[in-house]
């Protein structure tokens, strides 16, 4: 049966190819479409990717964390959401795990991530 699911998901998998290949630790700039009444505008959300969940399925999401005015903010985006305009890869990070939950407990200098070249 899971093969049948793959058939259905195959069409959506094409959409995924429009995005850069990013992973946990990378800094991304996510352009999100926001609808206000009839108007539509694009908002940017820039931060560190701390995880990608359920990879290569229609339910795949990624979490972006940023610190705004001293408050940590995390947003979870479904990667196939039509509300995503585009994803820019700003900086690649060198990390040793796939889920960077440890960043939540760190501030300032301690929350830095080395660049991957």
């Amino acid at each position: 049966m899971s093969d049948l699911i793959k058939l259905v998901e195959a069409e959506d998998a094409e959409a995924r190819k429009n995005y850069p290949d990013f992973k946990a630790g990378d800094t991304v700039n996510v352009h999100v479409k926001i609808r206000e009444g009839n108007k539509e505008r694009v908002q940017q959300f820039r931060g560190t990717v701390i995880q990608r969940k359920n990879p290569n399925t229609n339910g795949e999401t990624f979490t972006v964390r940023k610190v705004s005015n001293g408050v940590g903010i995390e947003r979870i985006f479904p990667i196939l959401s039509p509300n995503l305009d585009k994803i820019e890869l700003v900086r690649k990070g060198k990390v040793r795990r796939a889920r960077l939950y440890y960043l939540r407990g760190k501030q300032g200098k301690a929350a830095r991530i080395k660049e991957r070249i």
Partner: protein, 200 residues
């Protein structure tokens, strides 16, 4: 299960069902059977697993032995054409995107379950106030000397699941005619690879 996004950007959980090709194996009429119905079949059954009686039944429709049979009353195709015995029906001749369908299946077996899980009893709210090991107990199952028995159908612990379950108002999100696949919103009863009956 998987998920699809609709035009508003909402993420809709959905189930993929292989619905066809179905062969018409019998057309029941008022004269011969006392009621009107259409019998459809799905899947291939091995020849050695088919009884002689069933082989004859499939021979009448000039088709190979099938795995599952189901009967439908008030059967109608999307188009006006007449049904014939042995006709093969594809998904697209029965369903359209945007239709609401019902799925009938056998729910997953849950084993022997207590009343809290099986009948949604509340259990005992407190761990203290005189309770010792009564947190999920059913409580009283009836009065004493009258009627001096327990009424039939009393909700008690026992085997749960494996029942016939019908789910209504599943929206058809997508139809893939080449693979005979149909994608409906929400969950349907039963385990993966189990059989369900879809009705419109």
């Amino acid at each position: 299960m998987t998920s699809l996004f609709d035009e508003n950007g909402r993420n809709i959980p959905c189930t993929v069902i292989e619905a066809g090709p179905c062969v018409v194996t019998q057309i029941k009429t008022k004269e011969t059977d006392g009621y009107e119905a259409v019998q459809l079949s799905w899947g291939e059954r091995k020849d050695k697993h088919t009884t002689k009686a069933m082989k004859g039944h499939f021979q009448k429709a000039k088709t190979s032995p099938k795995l599952k049979l189901a009967e439908f009353r008030d059967f109608q195709l999307n188009s006006e054409e007449e049904l014939t015995l042995g006709q093969t029906l594809e998904v697209s001749s029965l369903f359209e995107e945007g239709d609401y369908v019902e799925a009938i299946g056998t729910s997953k077996g849950k084993g022997f379950q207590g009343v809290v899980r099986r009948h949604n009893f509340a259990g005992v709210g407190d761990a203290t106030h005189g309770q010792h090991n009564r947190m999920r107990a059913p409580g009283s199952i009836g009065a004493a000397s009258y009627p001096s028995r327990v009424f039939k159908g009393m909700k008690m612990a026992g085997r749960m699941g494996g029942d016939r379950v019908q789910v209504f108002n599943l929206r058809v999100l997508k139809i893939m005619p080449e693979e005979n696949l149909i994608v409906v919103s929400g969950a349907i009863p039963g385990a993966k690879n189990s059989t369900v009956i879809l009705e419109k």
